[in-house]
């Protein structure tokens, strides 16, 4: 019942292109916890937070909850800037971020007990199901400390490196962060990267060791790890159990005491940092922002400095966590604007909002264009769905400025789109949303990275689509993106991970022990080797204990070739892949074997080949159907026979013709999946 379920779902593979330096900088994800805690919800405490006294755990009183509720009701009341605290939570997946966030909302009375649902901040079904935060949300809470009311703004961050740019923007909107570490798991790779990011943003970091109630908890050990690995002072760290409600008030108190208030800049021209935006079909884009300087009123004409678009603010409000309208927001506050904005591209995360008539001199730092790093082709199974797919992608793009797509045509798959994503999880989520929310049935080609091709005439072209790779005669060399990857693992699995990294053409760099039992491994390997099932492998080979983090370190030349698949001597473009020469044979063999299994036999013999250029490196043959005849039309009753023939004809319709060969969609899908695994 109380087991986490998000452990293996999402391969965290992406990186972040630094705007300030040309080198690529490492970022990481904020993890999220996913605990099922239906059973003892009622027993959990509700802290009465009006007097700053620490209520006892398990001492739930009616008075307490009423007081908390009243305090929650007052949360729209303005407080001076000096009493605003903006913070976020940094945690690894399953270390309890969402549980803690839920608890904070409950204890401060922001969310009534009866409205409480798990992971309140995760709005999308997909998020709640997968237990990961994809889009950020924010929550304004009122907390009374030593008889003084404070306004706390929790800015939730997405739990995945794919969204590290968004993480960095939401961190930039805060003055402090809670670093939540699981008392039995210790510091994980992505946590590390996000803490560095927070430190870069000069955030005050409050270490919190969570899940101290669990039997395997070793808080002392974990604290030592935080001190040694991150170098944070842990003397004032808080031990808590979000699930049991232990230590929640200490956390709230520490937020008030230790996180600095926003600077007093309400008199300056209005500047606000967008840390999230989403598209609402009825109201247009809703922008979440933190006011950095000045103030904004309902009805103001506002300007988005990066996109250059201007709008009238129809509605402004705060998130608590539902949208509640207010008339005015001033420096330090967090809120939303609705201004009939047509697309999130006009109000991108990281952009600066200013007042149209009293423009700020400069925009806030840190804005950058999204750079897709992983590409794949998306094709509708049913060609009729092509316009629907385009509409759906356009709608998703309204809400996801990082999603890039352009039309692509393929002989086998028909019309579709080549889409660019921040990383693999981003890709998976987009695919799943397309299928789930827009009822599309899609075929995805194997994800590929962007290759840099040096042609013989001295040009350099970027190529993300294997079928567009210049002919061997025209290219001088091919470079592929490399990543530096850091793996944190219990020492028992070092061997298994080294083997995995070696398999994936990894180059060993360094190994060090970060604690007695845990080691950090450093490798450099091609990004292409990671966009497959690397993360799944990492998890399965270490029983889920290892974590990883990576960053792109640039392009390197590799002996890469294009592997083609020929069915009945016809090239099947969507199955072409770019692989390292050393792997071509095993990949070719696996693909041809799989296709032989999946393609139904035809009326003639069908050779299935894997080729490099014109050289066949693996070959299978599908034997011909010998007999398919219904011998008798009994007593003139042809209806049954006709039904069978119609079914057979319908079956053919679902197939794609590769030359004379009918290939079922499932064959493509299975092979593309296999490509993801073997590449």
């Amino acid at each position: 019942m109380a087991m986490a379920y998000a452990m293996d779902l999402s391969p965290p593979t992406s990186f972040f292109l630094s705007p300030t330096s040309s080198s690529l900088r490492r970022l990481s994800s904020l993890p999220v916890s996913t605990f099922n805690r239906h059973s003892n919800r009622r027993l959990q405490i509700l802290c009465q937070a009006t007097a700053g006294t620490q209520p006892q755990s398990n001492n739930l009183s009616d008075t307490g909850s009423k007081l908390a509720a009243r305090s929650g009701q007052d949360r729209l009341l303005k407080v001076p800037i000096s009493r605003i605290r903006n913070f976020s939570i940094i945690a690894h997946i399953d270390h309890g971020k969402s549980t803690l966030a839920d608890k904070l909302l409950q204890v401060t009375g922001t969310v009534q007990n009866r409205d409480m649902k798990e992971q309140f901040l995760d709005n999308m079904d997909l998020e709640r199901e997968r237990g990961i935060t994809i889009k950020l949300q924010a929550a304004r809470m009122r907390y009374v400390y030593e008889d003084t009311p404070y306004c706390l703004n929790l800015i939730d961050t997405p739990g995945h490196v794919d969204f590290s740019y968004e993480v960095s923007r939401s961190l930039a909107a805060c003055e402090g962060a809670l670093l939540v570490v699981d008392a039995s798991q210790g510091v994980e790779a992505q946590t590390l990267a996000n803490v560095y990011l927070a430190l870069e943003n000069n955030l005050e970091i409050i270490p919190v060791v969570n899940k101290i109630d669990l039997p395997g908890a070793e808080p002392e050990q974990v604290l030592r790890e935080i001190e040694e690995v991150i170098g944070l002072d842990c003397s004032k760290a808080i031990l808590c159990s979000a699930k049991e409600g232990i230590g929640i008030t200490e956390i709230l108190n520490a937020i008030v005491q230790r996180i600095p208030p926003p600077p007093e800049t309400a008199e300056k021209p209005f500047r606000a940092l967008i840390f999230d935006s989403y598209y609402d079909p009825y109201r247009g884009v809703i922008v979440y922002f933190r006011v950095i300087d000045g103030k904004v009123k309902k009805g103001d004409r506002i300007l988005f400095m990066a996109s250059g678009k201007d709008y009238f603010a129809d509605e402004i409000g705060v998130l608590s966590p539902n949208q509640i309208q207010v008339d005015e927001l001033y420096a330090g506050e967090v809120g939303y604007i609705s201004a009939s904005i047509r697309s999130v591209a006009d109000a991108r995360v990281g952009d600066t909002i200013t007042n149209f008539s009293r423009k700020a001199e400069s925009s806030l730092p840190g804005y950058e264009e999204a750079t897709p790093m992983v590409f794949c082709g998306l094709f509708p199974v049913d060609a009729d769905q092509f316009p629907d797919l385009r509409d759906a992608l356009e709608k998703l793009q309204l809400n996801d400025a990082a999603l890039k797509f352009e039309p692509e045509t393929s002989s086998a798959m028909g019309f579709g789109f080549r889409c660019g994503f921040l990383g693999l999880l981003h890709m998976e989520i987009v695919q799943e949303r397309l299928e789930r929310e827009y009822n599309l049935n899609l075929i995805t080609t194997a994800p590929s990275v962007v290759y840099k091709v040096h042609t013989v005439n001295g040009d350099i072209t970027m190529c993300s689509n294997p079928s567009l790779l210049p002919q061997p005669g025209l290219r001088k060399s091919v470079e592929e993106p490399y990543v530096k990857i850091e793996l944190l693992t219990p020492k028992d699995y070092i061997g298994a991970l080294m083997e995995l990294a070696q398999d994936r053409r990894g180059e060993f760099k360094e190994m060090k022990y970060i604690a007695e039992n845990r080691a950090s491994l450093l490798y450099e390997l091609p990004l292409a080797e990671m966009v497959g099932d690397f993360f799944d492998q990492l998890k399965s080979r270490t029983k889920g204990y290892a974590s990883m983090e990576y960053s792109v370190i640039g392009y390197r030349e590799s002996d890469l070739i294009k592997l083609d698949i020929l069915i009945n001597a016809e090239l099947v473009e969507p199955l072409s892949t770019i692989v390292h020469r050393d792997k071509a044979y095993s990949v070719g063999r696996a693909l041809t074997q799989k296709l032989k299994e999946l393609i139904p036999r035809q009326m003639f013999k069908v050779p299935i080949q894997a080729c490099i250029g014109s050289k066949v490196i693996a070959s299978e043959a599908l034997s011909a159907i010998r007999k398919d005849v219904l011998a008798k039309c009994y007593g003139g009753d042809i209806s049954r026979k006709k039904k069978l023939l119609k079914k057979q004809a319908a079956g053919k319709k679902r197939m794609k013709a590769i030359g004379r060969v009918d290939v079922p969609q499932e064959a493509f899908m299975a092979v593309l999946k296999l490509e993801k695994e073997v590449l």
């Binding site: 009326m603 003639f604 159907i625 010998r626 007999k627 398919d628 005849v629 219904l630 011998a631 008798k632 039309c633 009994y634 007593g635 003139g636 009753d637 042809i638 209806s639 026979k641 006709k642 069978l644 023939l645 119609k646 057979q648 004809a649 079956g651 053919k652 319709k653 004379r660």
Partner: protein, 479 residues
């Protein structure tokens, strides 16, 4: 009401609004395409064949001694008491048979049609079941009823399926006197173990006896039924059966490839292509062997599973089916095609009894109103005509359904003409070679039907893959 159709093809669209819209969409091109003369002559073309009065009747006599292991037909098993006394005509008193035949007679009598003309029946087919289990007296009753209801041509082909061990010379003579002039003898195999394995109620001895009786009685037109791909059947056994069949000199041979049907005993224990059933390759070999041995012995392979000694011994009744022409059907589970409606009667006796009562009250809807879905007719014609060695008449088909459909079918078949699965023939039934066919298909200026008169499946390679090939044409008609 059946309309005489001189009006355009629209009138034959089905009355269901949704379907008819779809059909119209698919066929509107065709209508523009059809030359006016063809439309005026619509009453004679393929799309209106079904509107005429039937001249054939199928009569289902469902009685068997026991159910064979491969059989999923509507039958009524009489039990072993009958099988113990095959030649004594005890069955005459079996009330189950008498009652059924009475019901059948009621059905025939209650069958009212409203055709302008009522031509006499040219073929009657007693199928089963094992019709030879029915006493001649009752067969006579059925024939009399048919005759008084519809009229019977003096030279009508009257076929009856007969199983070894269910009739003697006397009975056969009686039946012949009644007008039965074609016997379809259910031999199935010449190996005791195979007959046993498929649960036949007779052995090899009865097979030889039955052949002897048929020949002694002087039945000129008789067919022997054989089944290939039976469990445990080897190529040697199959060759032996074919050889013995040829030696018996039937005027017609039907060779059925075993279909493993769901719900039958075979369906429960066997998987097609898996031992003890022959593999797909073996099974294909059996088919080819039958084709070459029977043709070698002078039989014409005129339909996927039918061989005849000469033109006159082709089964006229079955040719009605394959020509997509209308026919009556009477009896349990039987399927008729009248007024454009393919109608199957209830397969269970109780429901069938109710059906007959409804029919008598005028409440049964077994006859179509002449309106058909053109696509349905087109696919019926495709699947039926490709079963025959005559094949699809391209020109007629094009006149009825449009040249574009013919062009598309030719395009789809082009690779299979090249691979030899499909044969193209000109007016004189000379083969059009694949290079030439390719040129014709590639040239939009050329009217294919001026050069290609027939398309047919090649024997045996094309016949063996008939389902695949026919479903390709289906795909053209209902894209």
């Amino acid at each position: 009401m059946l309309r005489t159709t001189t009006s355009p093809i629209f009138s034959s669209f089905t009355s269901k609004p949704r379907t008819s819209r779809l059909i119209f969409k698919a066929f509107n091109v065709i209508l523009e395409d059809t030359p006016p003369s063809a439309r005026r002559n619509a009453s004679t073309n393929l799309t209106t064949l079904h509107q005429g009065p039937p001249t054939s009747a199928y009569v289902h006599l469902p009685f068997c001694r026991k159910r064979c292991h491969y059989c999923d037909f509507p039958i009524l098993a009489l039990g072993s008491s009958v099988s113990n006394a095959p030649y004594e005509e005890k069955q005459e008193d079996d009330p189950r048979i008498t009652n059924y035949v009475n019901l059948l007679v009621r059905e025939i009598n209650a069958t009212r049609t409203c055709f302008d003309t009522n031509p006499n029946l040219k073929t009657v087919f007693f199928g089963g079941g094992t019709p030879s289990l029915v006493p001649p007296k009752l067969v006579s009753l059925v024939l009399e009823t048919l005759s008084s209801r519809f009229g019977l041509c003096p030279d009508a082909e009257i076929s009856m399926e007969m199983d070894p061990g269910t009739f003697g010379g006397e009975k056969l003579k009686e039946l012949m006197d009644l007008g039965v002039n074609r016997v379809s003898l259910g031999v199935q195999a010449f190996q005791e173990e195979l007959l046993k394995a498929c649960g036949r109620a007779h052995g090899v001895t009865e097979v030889y006896e039955a052949i002897e009786i048929v020949r002694a009685c002087g039945v000129e037109n008789w067919s022997m039924d054989l089944i290939s791909s039976l469990p445990h059947q080897t190529l040697e056994m199959w060759e032996e059966s074919l050889r013995l069949a040829i030696e018996s000199q039937p005027s017609h041979v039907s060779v059925y490839d075993l279909q493993v049907e769901q719900g039958t005993k075979f369906g429960n224990v066997y998987t097609p292509g898996k031992s003890p059933l022959p593999s797909e390759t073996q099974s294909a070999e059996f088919y080819k062997t039958a084709s070459s041995m029977l043709r070698g012995a002078g039989y014409e392979h005129y339909e996927v599973s039918s061989y005849s000694k000469d033109e006159g011994f082709k089964c006229k009744h079955n040719l009605i089916y394959w020509g997509n022409k209308p026919f009556y059907a009477f009896g349990l589970g039987s399927a008729s095609y009248v007024g454009g409606l393919r109608f199957s009667r209830p397969r269970r006796l109780k429901e069938y009894t109710n059906y007959v009562a409804d029919l008598e009250n005028g409440a049964a809807n077994w006859c179509g109103d002449g309106n058909v879905d053109l696509k349905d007719v087109a696919t019926d014609i495709i699947m039926l005509s490709f079963r025959t060695s005559k094949g699809l008449e391209v020109k007629e088909f094009g006149e009825a359904f449009g040249r574009k459909v013919v062009n598309s079918i030719c395009k789809v078949y082009e690779p299979y003409v090249e691979s030899g699965h499909i044969v193209c023939l000109d007016d004189m039934r000379r083969e059009v070679m694949s290079d030439e066919f390719k040129k014709l298909v590639g040239d939009d200026e050329v009217k294919i039907e001026d050069h290609v008169r027939y398309l047919r499946l090649r024997d045996p390679d094309g016949f063996l893959l008939s389902n695949e090939l026919i479903s390709l044409a289906f795909g053209v008609i209902s894209p």
